[in-house]
Symmetry: C2
Subunit: 110 residues, 2 copies
DNA sequence: GCGCTATATATCGTCGTACAACATATAGCT
DNA sequence: AGCTATATGTTGTACGACGATATATAGCGC
């Protein structure tokens, strides 16, 4: 599986995690994921924006337009209370999943 | 992301890993994944069989029918040399991916 | 002025894949 | 005869990833 495939399931977890410490806009999330993962995870904008809309629609995020002179408008997203609850659950299920995979795949030989 | 979504990217890694120690047939792989992950990862047959065909088509697996009296025929898959090479690479990229996610998501609070 | 890059958001069309549902076949248990 | 377990397979739907493309603003080099 390519690194593209690998990130499929974890995209939401990454977004929610990054928003935990404060509002971020789409492009910023994109760049943060790339730099924090040292390039291992890269987000295509054609996936990111629709994903943000979905999360907002589910009530986990709340977006708000911020306009500044001499700048393209930005949409800042913040975690809702429900979003925080979901994040907690997602973190737990992620670590459970990783543990389960480790039991099947065996220890790392990296 | 549901545990269903989570496993999307790792399905191939799981199959390849299980076949590392010897030939297995589809249903057996299904059951082994379920039991080794203690129920955390479950495979739908409608995903498993097409996946096995794909892997075989790519030359990573080789299947062979085994018929026994009083039993439904089984198709046993074994890892090819190419499959072993791919498995090695997949294992490495999986652990890199997990490390990258951990840097973004933070430590486990499970 | 022009091309390039970076910042920032957005959509369209294609393609792959997961899975519910259904189908088939064998055997044992009740 | 009906249920469960074993075992493989297909069809149809639906969702999501991503390449390509578009729009808008600003700065830099030439």
């Amino acid at each position: 599986m390519s690194s593209t495939d690998l990130k499929k399931g974890s995209a939401e977890l990454l977004i929610l995690s990054l928003l935990e410490r404060g509002p971020r806009h789409g492009y910023e999330l994109c760049k943060r994921i790339e730099s924090r993962s040292r390039g291992a995870v890269r987000f295509n904008v054609a996936s990111l924006y629709p994903l943000l809309y979905r999360l907002e629609k589910r009530g986990w995020l709340q977006g708000r337009w911020v306009e500044k002179a001499g700048q393209r408008r930005r949409r800042y997203y913040r975690l809702t209370t429900e979003g925080r609850t979901v994040l907690k659950a997602r973190r737990r299920s992620w670590s459970e999943f990783v543990a389960a995979v480790r039991r099947i795949v065996g220890p790392d030989y990296a």
